[in-house]
């Protein structure tokens, strides 16, 4: 029989059994009993400087490893500060367990100090949430929370724990089974549909693989590579899927969508079979729906039945875990007749020729200048140092798009960014989580001067734990993406986008006890980045880039993806 312990210790016992080695949090009044238990427990608690960043760090940890990330906050303001991170994890299907303290059971509903209806507030921004009323429910709830967060389509789960539950004494009775009668996890995929998909793939003359975050979440990179090679099909990966197929793979085209490459968007537009794997046909990918892959029959594999047919009704729907479905698909493809393959060689060669022509016609061209640092140049330098192998945690905005275009990722879980929600202030805290998860890796925190200033408090966390994160600020003095849209669509009336008074990076980093530097000359760029990477500790590199550079190609909102604006100054409509 296990020994008597309080709820706080029991919670740590549950976390230990779930394999949690570190988590991110911020203490407060009602979590005092929990923090007392943390004091001499082997699980590492990382003290961040704001609860929102605890959630982002847990996401960074989860995104870098595939394991469930854990964050912790106190009641009231602590819990409400988690909300942005929870929605972020929800949008990108990231497994998170958020633990929040709540006022004592007897005080709930009395407007007690630091009371908020966390359960109600987080209902719509979690995959599931719990309010624990009795200590004996706690282990079951915590193990359920981890199971729900990680299984099926992953997502955030919040567990709200009143102070008296932390304090109550009880025995930890190991949980051996979870009974969730309403929780449906679809894994296998329909055999008949898998066969139909295989047949359609063989019949395709111009197949196109459209792979997303589901490939990363399901750890299905190997299966994806096999499929792409068997079919010799071109493949794009979405913003969330970058690295799902190695960027150096010959069949990899690039990212599609609003700021995707010309070749990727043209190939999506002209394919005859679109193989959509772990994607949700996001509006940033599809552009105007009626013009998206208009000639294509669509095979859609997704673990979430609600994604199938949500945006585009597929010809072959397959609800299942993309890793398992691809495993079976690859088997069926291997078994089906090879003579068909031969018959299609000519058509496939013609398709590849067109794609190569599109790539040559409008490549994602290196943009450099002798007088000012071009943002693209910065990304190319990061790419050169990364060699497709570093973790890049990006904030949100222009730099995110340029990084997605120019930094190559040869493995999944290297590119970490806020895709669906687009939360500014995500880059640095997620890098903290990623660096704790992968101490062996070179981690860049890449942010604009806007997003970075939302994260400045976390410089203290970086310094306190001596995390060797390379913080690179792409500083154009503006909220660049908003400025770009104001320039292009609002007559260049630049409203509230000028970011004056950026702090001196050297002094700022110095104030926290690590090195920082500001550069603005192209000639300094390579050596400054190298110096940052060589530095054993943290480094803040403030890179002043040309302020008015816009991200191209660009599909204007509501436009078709084959009607890209390719370059300034005059928008050019590209004929089909």
């Amino acid at each position: 029989m296990a020994s008597l312990m309080n709820g706080a210790k029991m919670l740590l016992e549950c976390l230990a059994r779930e394999g949690v080695d570190c988590f991110f949090g911020y203490p407060g009044g009602v979590t005092l009993p929990f923090y007392d238990a943390i004091y001499d427990h082997h699980i590492r608690h990382v003290l961040v400087r704001h609860e929102e960043n605890a959630c982002f760090a847990a996401e960074g940890y989860a995104r870098a490893t595939g394991k469930v990330g854990v964050c912790c906050a106190t009641s009231g303001p602590g819990a409400t500060n988690l909300v942005t991170g929870l929605v972020d994890a929800m949008m990108d299907s990231i497994p998170i367990v958020a633990l929040t303290g709540q006022v004592s059971s007897k005080l709930i509903g009395s407007d007690a100090f630091q009371e908020a209806d966390t359960f109600g507030i987080t209902r719509s921004c979690t995959k599931h949430n719990y309010l624990v009323k009795k200590l004996e429910d706690l282990p079951q709830v915590v193990h359920e929370a981890f199971y729900i967060a990680a299984s099926g389509r992953p997502g955030p789960v919040l567990v709200d724990i009143p102070k008296d539950v932390f304090q109550a004494q009880g025995h930890y009775i190991p949980v051996t089974s979870i009974h969730l009668p309403g929780y449906k996890v679809f894994t296998e995929g329909h055999t008949g549909q898998v066969r139909r998909a295989a047949q359609l793939m063989w019949e395709a003359e111009r197949p196109m693989v459209y792979a997303g975050g589901g490939i990363v979440a399901a750890d299905a990179s190997a299966e994806l590579r096999e499929l792409v090679e068997t079919l010799d099909a071109p493949a794009v990966t979405t913003l969330m899927g970058l690295g799902g197929l190695a960027a150096n793979h010959p069949n990899f085209v690039s990212m599609p969508g609003m700021h995707g490459s010309y070749a990727a968007n043209m190939a999506m537009t002209h394919c005859d079979v679109l193989i959509a794997l772990g994607v949700r046909f996001d509006d940033r990918v599809t552009g105007r729906l009626t013009a998206f892959a208009p000639h294509a029959k669509v095979i859609h594999v997704d673990i979430d039945p609600a994604e199938i047919g949500k945006i585009r009704v597929p010809d072959v729907p397959i609800v299942g875990d993309v890793k398992r479905v691809l495993g079976r698909l690859n088997k069926v493809l291997a078994e089906t007749s090879p003579e068909r393959k031969d018959r299609l060689t000519a058509a496939r060669q013609a398709w590849w020729t067109r794609i190569r022509d599109w790539k040559l016609e409008h490549p994602l061209a290196p943009v450099t200048s002798d007088s000012e640092i071009k943002p693209q140049h910065l990304m190319m330098e990061i790419d050169r140092l990364s060699q497709g192998d570093a973790i890049v945690c990006s904030d949100v905005g222009q730099h995110q798009m340029w990084a997605a275009q120019f930094v190559r990722f040869n493995a999944p879980r290297l590119w970490i960014n806020s895709g669906g929600l687009g939360s500014m202030g995500f880059g640095l805290p997620s890098a903290i989580g990623a660096q704790f998860a992968r101490p062996d890796k070179l981690v860049f925190a890449l942010a604009g001067d806007g997003g970075f200033q939302m994260s400045i408090p976390e410089l203290a966390t970086v310094a306190a734990y001596g995390l060797p994160i390379k913080i690179v600020v792409m500083n154009n003095g503006y909220l660049g993406m908003v400025r770009q849209w104001q320039e292009l669509f609002y007559n260049n009336r630049l409203s509230a986008v000028t970011l004056d008074c950026f702090p001196d990076a050297e002094k700022l980093a110095g104030a926290y006890g690590f090195k920082g530097r500001t550069i603005d000359k192209p000639s300094e760029l390579a050596s400054a980045l190298e110096e940052a990477v060589r530095e054993p500790g943290p480094y803040l590199l403030n890179v002043k880039v040309s302020p008015f550079e816009n991200v191209y190609p660009m599909v204007p909102a509501g436009g078709a993806i084959n009607e890209m604006v390719l370059a300034p100054p005059q928008p050019v409509a590209v004929p089909k």
């Binding site: 016992e13 230990a16 059994r17 779930e18 082997h42 359960f119 109600g120 209902r123 719509s124 995959k127 599931h128 949430n129 309010l131 193990h143 199971y147 729900i148 190991p174 949980v175 051996t176 089974s177 979870i178 009974h179 969730l180 009668p181 309403g182 929780y183 449906k184 996890v185 979430d304 039945p305 609600a306 047919g309 949500k310």
Partner: protein, 178 residues
């Protein structure tokens, strides 16, 4: 057109909020909602009448099915189903009208649940259209006050009621490494 959605949900705090939250998040107004325990006390049956755009209806029902507390959500709008609603009506009548009111009540199969010098309290069940008529008729006799239960429905399609067997998940939870 109004839809009738029938759900089998776990009888737990918050389950109702999760379901209605999917509708309110999309700014749909619920016309009626009933919920009560089933034979299995751990489960509740919920019937929602709501007007959701045709294009979004399947999506909303899929999202309901995704909720951890929802065992099953089905659209009964176009499938064989029986729908019933109950109404309680208080009607003020004059002495001269009392017999006529009782006769009308009988036509609608309503029962008298209270009688006083001022009038009656009547209980009627039926499909919502029939109750609309009943209320209209009673209004013609005098001042009325009504409370409607909202629609409850049961599917006549036997397949619709078949549930997935509960999923028992063995969790490999190991002793922590110290």
């Amino acid at each position: 057109m109004l839809q009738v959605i029938s759900l089998l949900v776990e009888n737990r705090p918050g389950a109702l909020m999760r379901v209605t939250g999917l509708l309110s998040a999309r700014a749909y107004n619920i016309e009626s909602l009933t919920v009560a325990r089933t034979l299995d006390p751990e489960l509740s049956r919920m019937t929602i009448v709501v007007d959701v755009d045709a294009a979004l209806r399947q999506q909303v029902i899929k999202q309901m099915n995704k909720l951890v507390n929802v065992l099953q959500a089905v659209d009964l709008t176009e499938s064989p189903a029986v729908r019933r609603e109950m109404v309680l009506v208080r009607v003020r009548t004059t002495q001269e009208n009392r017999t006529a009111v009782l006769q009308e009540a009988e036509i609608f199969g309503a029962r008298v649940v209270d009688s006083s010098v001022d009038g009656f309290a009547l209980e009627a069940t039926g499909d919502p259209e029939k109750l609309d008529e009943f209320i209209e008729v009673m209004r013609s006799y005098g001042e009325i006050e009504t409370t409607r239960s909202g629609v409850v429905a049961v599917s006549l399609d036997p397949r619709k009621l078949k549930l997935q067997p509960p999923i028992f998940t063995k969790v490999a939870i190991e002793e922590p490494v110290q």
